[in-house]
Symmetry: C2
Subunit: 150 residues, 2 copies
DNA sequence: GACGACGTTGACGTTAACGTAAAGTGCTTG
DNA sequence: CAAGCACTTTACGTTAACGTCAACGTCGTC
């Protein structure tokens, strides 16, 4: 990111520039501002399945994306178990039976509903914040022009 | 909500219709679909401070609003400690000093920033869901017209 | 070849947010 | 007045999501 290697001319082919295909656990951890412990824990919970080179874990683009999605899900209040459920069903999709797929659609509809409510919550909360901020500024202004006798 | 009491003519005065000013803990719990234990816990954590009639707690409109805001905050991923901090500062606002008020504004800005990110997260997540759903429907359709030999 | 940075596997600790169970109080209703 | 129901406090239990620590292996490099 801050290393100034000229990198020659960037490959202008149609596919993604596969310049840096793998990551070590520490790299990934710094990228997303989590600890390696967290990443290992997510693997233990079935959210990641990195390659192994001997003992050490090797993360590819796919794993990085999964981690990103996982963390986004977490910020939205989903539990790791919920996230795993979706990920597992997504992976099993191609040869999943109809029942499983319909179950997946149900789950997705549920998440969607959840996020609709969150959107509404955010709008309401933003109004509250606006309100509180206005009052605070009001009081502050009054303090400025009429400082407390104390 | 579904009780069909005629209620006489609703009071058409300017202020709020003060028909039902207080609530018992169980009532409030049912209203918000939480347990009484949760409500007591929130009190213990300094989020509520209901009146007492002898031993038992009496909740007023103000308490109900606080509980509503608290639960909304929780759905947005705020911790009870964070919520309490804002509530406390809000209560102490009228006679808060400038430093406290500025601190409050900082906190509010922070929450706001948080929610901007959440909005973005939700938009991204909704796209993911759209994508996953489309794939699922695709596979499902294929299953319908060409059932698996199994 | 010692050192430091990074990686690994257990295993136990910690925190938030309640759940649950015990034991008692107070009203009102048959 | 006994039963039942809602409320109370106290206290210990539980779960999720990691943190922390020990003990060890593996590089690169000075």
């Amino acid at each position: 990111m801050s290393t100034l290697k000229p990198e020659a001319t960037p490959p202008v082919n149609g596919t993604l520039p596969r310049q840096r295909r793998t990551y070590a656990i520490g790299e990934l951890a710094r990228m997303f501002e989590v600890t390696p412990r967290t990443i290992r824990f997510y693997e233990q919970e079935g959210l990641l399945a990195p390659e192994r080179r001997g003992q050490t874990r090797i993360y590819h683009e796919k794993d990085r994306v999964r981690l990103k999605l996982t963390l986004r899900g977490k910020r939205l209040g989903f539990s790791l178990a919920e996230i795993r459920e979706v990920i597992e069903m997504y992976d099993a999709m191609p040869d999943g039976n109809a029942r499983q797929l319909k179950r997946l659609l149900e789950i997705l509809a549920d998440k969607r509903h959840n996020m609709e409510r969150q959107l509404e919550d955010i709008r309401l909360m933003q109004r509250e914040l606006d309100d509180v901020e206005a009052r605070a500024r009001d009081v502050l202004g009054r303090l400025d022009q009429d400082p407390p006798s104390h």
